[in-house]
């Protein structure tokens, strides 16, 4: 069955136009990712208007190309200049830049980064093709209560990780959800919050809201300061070096344990709804250092220090796609944009998506797989393009991108109102960012708002009892996760300082054991019993340890 779907998807993808679009996407992603401050998400957002006239397969393939290329592009800037091109390449600079500058091996450093990205992406592609359908089968168990709780968990998780202040993150999420209610309601089409303006009665289109909140505000932040606005994108000292592919590939494969571990870590973090690659690359680096026999070499130009972050950031892309494809929930902002793109093409991702549209689903898997090969082939060419682009000044790039945003937004519906929406949300996004509110939860709220309301309407149609959210195992599971995700930032800050933090992990295990025990069958309740036992054992152990420490402190 899977083989049949893969073959059918292969036929769908194997036409010149689709491969060309995928390649253009990878190229654009490599350049976008290489420019510090530009971000992969911006690249995907800017490609979106081009995809309107394409088929869903072509449009998604192009965006996936940008996605894969973007994370690999970040290493170019990080290794050659010490400035990460994307947040997903921060840890790459720790060893990539010293290897390039201090050890004088820029070609080898780039090669390691490129091949680590490639293998990380391939591992994630395999996980995507096999895990997503299985996760979708679990998703088929979800009823409207569970789906609603999942979306709320996605928003709380993103809010808790997006910024420094949890309350501001949650407020941002609520702003996004509220913005999605403007216009006609999803059930009966009653106009809401139009305040007498007919055009607003239709609601705001997703694309101008997204581009306004994210791209418009980001560009204005980039040109805010007169000095940064007129500076060149690069330092001016970048050179197109020759990547040592063969030597690098061999070296990366020798470090296969680190490679596989970092890739799987990246996939796992990508599955969780949050800013995946920004977290995964640092975590993978940290794990690689802790597991290494020579941790003192990290930071001096160590091979493992490049393999870990670059394999994990590309693998995160695959993880985020798993959640999007299997559950219809975006794993990061980029998959949130892709979700929006699918909605524009009248395709609604959900647990039924893979079962109902297998060719489209497997085309996306294969596009992700192919994109990694194309990335490998294009990296050397893109390096020359990167060196040229670094001579451009920020204010010129920003001005050109702003007009491109306007043209792209207008192309969606051919109405002036979308351009005014772009301006309005551009102002809103910039103001909120300046005030310390993260933009990602707002975007997630806008993307998920109508889907959440749809789920809630089904819940209300079936039963008015709010206790049903606690009585259903999956719903309770996601509610527990949401609560834990809100406590997590406090745990992070107080870890090692406050005594309650030692009980966080065991409490987390015990809390999740309850809904798992309520699930059908024997496997999950069995896991629940193990989790409960483990949680209780950890709790007792930590209590005894802390009691012992108090006794020693009292005696001394």
């Amino acid at each position: 069955m899977i083989i049949d779907n893969i073959l059918a998807a292969g036929v769908e993808l194997a036409n010149v136009k689709t491969i060309l679009l995928l390649s253009v996407g990878v190229f654009a992603g490599l350049i976008a990712g290489a420019i510090p401050g530009f971000t992969v998400a911006m690249g995907v957002v800017l490609v979106l208007p081009f995809t309107f006239t394409m088929t869903p397969v072509q449009g998604l393939s192009t965006m996936i190309g940008v996605y894969v290329g973007g994370f690999s592009g970040g290493l170019m800037s990080g290794i050659l200049t010490g400035i990460p091109g994307t947040p997903g390449s921060v840890a790459t600079t720790f060893d990539g830049f010293p290897m390039a500058r201090k050890r004088g091996m820029p070609g080898f450093a780039l090669g390691i980064g490129v091949w680590a990205s490639f293998f990380g992406g391939i591992i994630a592609a395999v996980c995507l093709a096999f895990i997503a359908p299985q996760l979708a089968l679990i998703g088929l168990e979800f009823q409207p209560w569970d789906y609603f709780a999942l979306m709320m968990f996605a928003i709380t998780m993103t809010a808790s990780l997006a910024g420094d202040n949890l309350v501001k993150g949650l407020i941002a999420g609520m702003i996004g959800l509220l913005a999605a209610t403007i216009g006609e309601d999803v059930v009966v089409g009653v106009p809401r919050f139009n305040f007498g303006i007919d055009a607003v009665g239709q609601g705001f289109s997703f694309l101008p809201v997204l581009i306004g909140l994210f791209a418009f505000s980001q560009l204005l932040s980039d040109v805010q300061d007169k000095k940064t606005a007129t500076r060149k994108l690069g330092s001016g000292s970048e050179e197109a070096v020759r990547i040592e592919h063969f030597k690098a590939a061999k070296t990366v494969l020798k470090d296969w344990v680190n490679l596989v571990r970092s890739s799987l870590l990246g996939v796992f973090i990508g599955v969780l709804p949050a800013e995946g690659a920004a977290i995964s690359n640092v975590l993978a680096y940290d794990q690689a250092k802790k597991s290494s026999k020579t941790p003192e070499e990290f930071g001096t130009g160590c091979v493992s220090g490049i393999v870990a972050p670059e394999s994990s950031n590309n693998a995160t892309a695959g993880g985020a796609l798993i959640t999007m494809m299997a559950l219809g929930i975006p794993g990061d902002i980029i998959t949130a944009v892709m979700l929006g793109a699918l909605l524009i093409h009248d395709v609604t991702p959900s647990p039924l998506f893979i079962a109902e549209q297998p060719i489209l689903a497997y085309s996306i898997f294969m596009a992700f797989f192919l994109a990694n090969f194309i990335m490998l082939a294009l990296q050397s060419i893109t390096l020359r393009g990167f060196v040229l682009v670094t001579h451009m000044r920020m204010h010129i790039l920003a001005s050109v991108i702003l007009i491109y945003c306007a043209i792209g937004v207008f192309a969606l519906n051919n109405i002036d109102f979308d351009l005014w929406t772009l301006l309005l949300f551009g102002i809103l996004g910039y103001v909120l960012k300046s005030l310390g509110f993260p933009v990602v939860p707002i975007i997630l709220g806008v993307v998920l708002g109508r889907l959440a309301e749809d789920s809630l309407s089904r819940v209300v149609a079936l039963s008015y009892d709010p206790m049903a959210f606690l009585a259903r195992p999956w719903s309770l599971f996601f509610i527990m996760l949401a609560i834990m995700s809100m406590i997590f930032p406090f745990y992070q800050r107080q870890s090692g300082k406050a005594s309650w933090t030692v009980y966080f992990v065991p409490a987390f295990l015990i809390a999740l054991a309850l809904p798992m025990y309520m699930m059908n069958g024997y496997f999950r309740p069995g896991i629940a019993v193990i989790m409960l036992a483990l949680g209780l054992a950890l709790m007792v152990k930590r209590y005894r340890n802390s009691d012992g420490k108090k006794t020693i402190a009292a005696k001394s």
């Binding site: 609520m174 009653v190 809401r192 001005s399 702003l402 005030l435 209300v460």
Partner: protein, 179 residues
């Protein structure tokens, strides 16, 4: 002990540093958000309901309820927060100087939207890019030539891609109708 001129200010007992007790930027933002909550809540009263269906006002009210609670927490945090005075950027003029570039961008985009229906996307786009690059960047003769070339080629290129390659209809100038 308060000193003359301390009005809404407090003085840290250890460092002697002056801090604002109540009214700071976050407090103003929180109060503004509360007003927004109130306005939207009031608007939900006028939303029609239908029997046997979830009320279209239910979901917005749920969001607004949570929103209000969060804003109240934010307001409390802002009031209790000690923020050293001296965050001012030289008053209104200083504020304008600090946000000059973004304000100019918004203003240019606003003008762009106003004249778009008359001059079309191509001409208005070229003018927009040229004006913005000139305002934000240097204004030597060489820079002006570069800005003009960039605006012509970039906007022209985009216009060609969208209209000829992708078949998208973009607004045209009023005088083209005469032909």
């Amino acid at each position: 002990m308060s000193r003359p001129g301390d009005n809404y200010l407090g003085r840290d007992g250890i460092t002697g540093e002056i801090y604002m007790h109540r009214l700071n930027r976050d407090t103003i933002v929180a109060l503004f958000l509360l007003v927004i909550c109130g306005v939207f809540f009031y608007d939900t009263i006028g939303i029609k309901s239908f029997p046997e269906q979830m009320s279209p006002a239910l979901w917005p009210r749920l969001i607004l309820s949570v929103f209000t609670v969060l804003v109240l927490i934010y307001l409390t945090q802002s009031i209790l927060k000690k923020e050293p005075e001296g965050d001012a950027r030289g008053g209104f003029v200083g504020w304008l100087k600090h946000y000059q570039n973004p304000l100019l961008c918004y203003f240019c985009f606003f003008i762009f939207l106003l004249i778009l229906p008359y001059l079309g996307m191509l001409i208005t786009g070229v003018l927009f890019v040229f004006t913005l690059t000139t305002i934000l960047g240097e204004r030597s003769q060489k820079d002006l030539i570069i800005n003009a070339a960039v605006s012509l080629f970039s906007v022209g290129g985009m216009w060609l891609i969208f209209t000829k390659l992708l078949g998208v209809i973009l607004p045209t100038a009023f005088f083209t109708y005469a032909f």
